[in-house]
């Protein structure tokens, strides 16, 4: 009887540990795949994955906004697809680039708040530019 109880306890603990491990390993992935006309689901961009823990660390990093704003500015005003979405003038794009570079330099030097403020100025220009 004692052996059976031990065995049941062992099985329960093993199952619990396995479950906890698999939850801990749950990945956050992002990629791109599209349907073809024939109904095949074709990967267009390879998925990149991170753990939940890594994602939370990314969100709570002191320089999170510095990084996020820079990426956002790149997506909306430098990347070809993003650029196409707005009615930018060259002067707008030049101003955005200068502010982004200044913001990045401040962020890299550890002046995070000042860097964020510069980057927000760049985002304001993007936000107030009419979309195509």
């Amino acid at each position: 009887m004692k052996k059976i109880l031990l065995l049941v306890t062992f099985m329960f603990l093993s199952a619990f540990a396995a479950n906890a491990a698999s939850e801990g390993e749950q990945k956050i992935c992002s990629g791109l795949a599209n349907w073809t006309e024939d109904g095949d689901f074709k990967q267009v961009r390879e998925s990149k994955c991170m753990t939940e823990e890594e994602y939370n660390a990314y969100l709570s990093a002191p320089d999170y906004l510095c990084q996020y704003y820079q990426k956002s500015i790149w997506k909306e005003s430098e990347r070809a697809y993003g650029k196409k979405q707005y009615k930018y003038t060259q002067a707008d794009l030049d101003k955005i680039k200068v502010l982004k570079d200044e913001g990045k330099a401040l962020c890299d030097a550890g002046n995070l708040k000042e860097g964020e403020a510069k980057l927000v100025e760049a985002i304001k220009i993007i936000s107030h530019t009419r979309m195509n």
């Binding site: 990945k27 956050i28 992935c29 992002s30 990629g31 791109l32 795949a33 599209n34 349907w35 006309e37 024939d38 109904g39 095949d40 689901f41 990967q43 998925s47 994955c49 991170m50 994602y55 990314y58 969100l59 999170y64 906004l65 996020y68 704003y69 956002s72 997506k75 909306e76 979405q85 927000v120 985002i123 304001k124 993007i126 936000s127 107030h128 530019t129 009419r130 979309m131 195509n132």
Partner: protein, 426 residues
Amino acid sequence: MKKITSLLITSVFLSFFSTVAFSDENVKKLSNFQKTGTAPGIVIPQDTKFADNIKKNVLPKIKMPPGFKISLFAVVPDARHMAVARNKTTVWIGTRKDKVWQATDRDMDDVADTVEQFSPAVTFDIPNGVCFSDDGHLYIAERNRVLWFPAAEYFMESPDTVAIPIIDQGGLIPPEEESYNHTARVCAVNKADNKLYVSMGQPFNVAGPDKYPAYDQVGIGGIIRFNRFPGELDREVVAIGLRNSVGHAFNPKDGTLWFTDNQVDGMGDETPPGEINKACKLGSSVWYGHPYYGGGDVRTNEYKGQDIPKAYTDNYCKPQVETIAHAADLGMMFYTGKQFPKKYHNAIFSAQHGSWNAVKPRGARVMVTYLDNKGNATKHEPFLEGWMTEMGTYLGRPVDVQQYFDGSILVSDDKAGVIYRISYEG
């Protein structure tokens, strides 16, 4: 080479304008009950490998409460908002391109037998918004025009469907404010005043101060209403301070207007929240937060620290539900059927299209929002999930939810280009 380039540019220019002119000419003819001589429209084959693969690879992945079943209703390219007919098993489907589709279940087996181009004589321009009135009229809200199709149920089999502009091309918004983004209109008829309500997104991430009060006066970043038959338009703004609403419906129990609103980008992966709103009242001063709030009570970076005008704060109507950031809450409906269990009666079903602007993908699901007996939102939870793979790719992206004639619901998906039917079998 220069000559060839200029010839090409000229021919593209001429062909664009001749198409527009031809289309306007056709609308004139159709509104006078005249033939245009247009050939029958495109037919979308339904019995295909694509349909089989959707059935095999998508349907089994969709998670839903016990007793519910998902099936493929139709293959419809670029399927966006839907309108369900009254006397026929036809569904009209808008797109963000230049076509409107009609899907008809002719043998009553709950699967569309034919999917055809609706009214091929008309050249549409982002005909996203389709709505059907209880008295049998179809309306199509385009980027900058609203068309009325009287008795569409009966004229729909012909390429020449009577079409009458309620708002002429260029009359919905000033043409210089036209954009491609934030231009998916939605429409609905309010039974209380028999008027047509059309939402109008504003064409910025965050509109600048130079755009106000002009936008509020026109209803850009708002919802307008007007008479739905020719004559005096009597256009009014009924909501301002929206960013980009792409879903609205009236609560059949108390007549209140509810709408989704997509919120500001570029503030963070997990902020600001999206919104489901209930109109506090209908009026041109009732304000829902944009551009001072980015979603919920999160102030936009663009207006942070600035005083909000008193005319706004005195008339601020807060959202009923704050949804997760960047989920893109789009089409919505109130469930009035009897097929689903009682807990879903008069609940809101809404589609989350899914994010483009966050590291962690989210959305691609259908949500349900329950209301209390005062008509306010209580719980908001997923109803259908599974269009996102564990590798973070979207198998499909739900756009709209509409009730089918038998009390099942239809969900459109503009990524897979299909319409699903969700029924309850107990």
